[in-house]
């Protein structure tokens, strides 16, 4: 079952003003949602906050209620070794499998370091990408595990 590795990432539109991130974080807090991995991508006068959390569906509705613009994006989370070469091991296997990493960000949650990756090959489905990743010997985090 490759679909159990499909992780629903939240992509939240964030105006570039002081206090915006605090407001976003408060919504996570108020809904008792734990953030496993997170990053901010910045553009012209706005940002996109990306987060992998334990209760994505519940918090999605909470954000919508507060007029936030957001979207689910499917990503995968790859386990990394916490030693020199850990990132190289993951990145080189993705490369060898022909998978393009559009963006990625690291997390140390769920006991081992994890790299959250968005695969952007337009001709490869997420399922196919997951199969390739598993075939390369890498270990993926299940969506259920992210929700602990």
């Amino acid at each position: 079952m490759t679909s159990e590795y499909r992780i629903k990432q939240l992509s939240i539109f964030a105006p570039n003003t002081p206090g915006t991130l605090a407001e976003i974080a408060k919504i996570f807090l108020d809904n008792e949602v734990n953030i496993s991995a997170f990053c901010i991508a910045e553009a012209n006068n706005f940002g996109v906050v990306r987060a992998v959390v334990d209760k994505p569906d519940a918090v999605f509705a909470a954000f919508e209620k507060k007029n936030y613009l957001l979207k689910f994006t499917d990503v995968v989370a790859v386990k990394m070794s916490d030693v020199p070469g850990g990132l190289y091991d993951v990145a080189s296997k993705f490369g060898a499998a022909g998978l393009n990493i559009e963006y990625a960000y690291a997390s140390r949650s769920t006991t081992t370091p994890t790299l959250v990756v968005y695969v952007s090959n337009t001709n490869i489905s997420l399922e196919a990408a997951v199969e390739k990743i598993l075939a390369s010997g890498l270990v993926l985090v299940r969506a259920a595990e992210m929700r602990i």
Partner: protein
């Protein structure tokens, strides 16, 4: 050379008014006979050409507005055979539809005559070198100053807008004595000259500036003089009356509106009543000899007053004060007229946006900046930064194409911009003129 056309420019006021009445009578008769639009307008107002028995009777005639041009887009107001037209100019309109103005050979001549007289009143003459740094093209500024300058015998440099270092080089190399452009662009040129280590007062022959197409102030005139030694004159005009036409003279105290070319009134913007000299109201003009698209009692929308008393320069034509605002919500951004309704209209073309927006106008240094805050629809969200930046650039392109002026766009989440119950206040103008 004190006057370009001394006889007409110094005609005693009583004779000037007689002339204005005669011209107006001919114009009204011609329009009543030839213009379906104005014929219907006069009928609706219950006025016949024979009712115009004195200059004061002009107040009986119906007024015209920019909407008349828009509703008759592109050329339904043209009152002469189409083959007699020698030129079109086009300006941005209020709802995205532009307004078109057309000129016969005589119209272009008359426009140039007005500009020639004005330039002479600013102290220019043969031997002067006039660098026209207004835009050439659909905008009337460039060609208007160009034809007027050539007519009165200056040497004209059609520099057009932009490339500021090149402008300074031209001023140095061609010994430019006068520049015509927007006031904010002239202040920008002063800054550019400084960066190039050019002292305008010492290193150049530039002594006169003809500035217009956007609001400016007496304090800007002083600033320009202190920074560059240049005497800045105010020029007034709008494409509907031909283009830039009338300037203040050497007295720098109001713009002379040549009486044989234009009849000026100040109306109460609410009631449409004619206001006496000295009182502020809506500037309204009749261009007495316009052939292609005659404009009778055209309500320009600018607020000003007719100055009382005679001008020491000897010109008998009435003078109007600096423009002091608008009766509508028109904005002037870097010399270009922008209506908030045109912004709204342009944004409708972007399906990812709601209909809510805000305009913020600031002036950083000499140049205006327009920021348009737009609201994304919920389904417009994407995880792709490139997608969002692409949308932002697409909105910027749409606005630039529609308004002829560039604007920065800020994407905002749904429901984040103010909602208005009554009249929407979508403009925040932080500029100080």
């Amino acid at each position: 050379m004190a006057y370009y056309n001394e006889k007409i420019e110094t005609l005693p006021r009583a004779e000037l008014e007689k002339l204005q009445y005669q011209e107006m009578k001919v114009l009204v008769e011609r329009l009543y006979a030839n213009s379906v639009f104005y014929h219907d307008k006069m009928k609706a107002a219950g006025v016949l050409p024979s009712d115009i028995k004195s200059i004061a009777d002009i107040a009986k005639l119906p007024t015209m507005k920019k909407t008349d041009l828009r509703n008759n887009y592109p050329d339904k107001l043209v009152c002469c055979p189409k083959e007699d037209l020698v030129r079109y100019h086009v300006s941005s309109g209020t709802t995205g539809k532009p307004t078109v103005v057309a000129y016969t050979k005589n119209d272009v001549e008359l426009w140039a005559e007005a500009v020639a007289r004005s330039l002479v009143s600013c102290g220019l003459g043969r031997g002067d070198v006039l660098q026209v740094a207004y835009g050439y093209g659909l905008f009337t500024g460039g060609l208007g100053l160009h034809y007027g300058g050539e007519k009165m015998g200056t040497t004209v440099i059609p520099a057009s807008t932009g490339n500021s270092e090149r402008q300074i080089e031209l001023i140095l190399d061609l010994e430019t004595t006068a520049v015509a452009c927007t006031p904010s662009y002239f202040i920008h040129l002063i800054d550019v000259a400084k960066k190039m280590d050019v002292d305008i007062a010492k290193d150049t022959k530039l002594r006169t500036a003809i500035l217009g197409a956007e609001p400016w102030s007496e304090s800007m005139r002083q600033y320009i003089h202190e920074q560059s030694g240049v005497v800045a004159h105010n020029i007034f005009g709008t494409s509907e009356i031909s283009g830039p036409m009338f300037t203040d003279c050497g007295e720098l105290n109001g713009m002379h509106i040549c009486g044989d070319i234009a009849y000026t009134e100040i109306l109460d913007p609410e009631t449409g009543e004619v206001l006496p000299p000295g009182e502020k109201g809506e500037l309204t003009m009749t261009i007495l000899k316009k052939e292609a698209i005659p404009m009778i009692r055209y309500r320009i929308g600018d607020i000003t007053s007719i100055l009382e008393g005679d001008c020491p320069c000897g010109r008998t034509s009435p003078r109007i004060d600096r423009l002091q605002g608008r009766v509508d919500d028109m904005l002037v951004i870097r010399g270009i007229n922008v209506f908030p309704s045109a912004v709204e209209h342009a944004l409708l073309r972007v399906p990812e946006l709601t209909s809510h927006f805000m305009l913020e106008i600031t002036r950083t240094g000499p140049l205006d900046d327009m920021l348009v805050k737009v609201e994304l629809k919920p389904d417009a969200m994407t995880d792709s930064i490139n997608g969002l930046i692409g949308l932002q650039s697409r909105v910027e392109r749409t606005l630039r194409d529609a308004l002829n002026v560039s604007a920065k766009v800020e994407l905002c989440p749904p429901n984040s911009l103010p909602r208005f119950e009554g009249k929407a206040k979508r403009v925040m103008d932080h500029r100080v003129f």
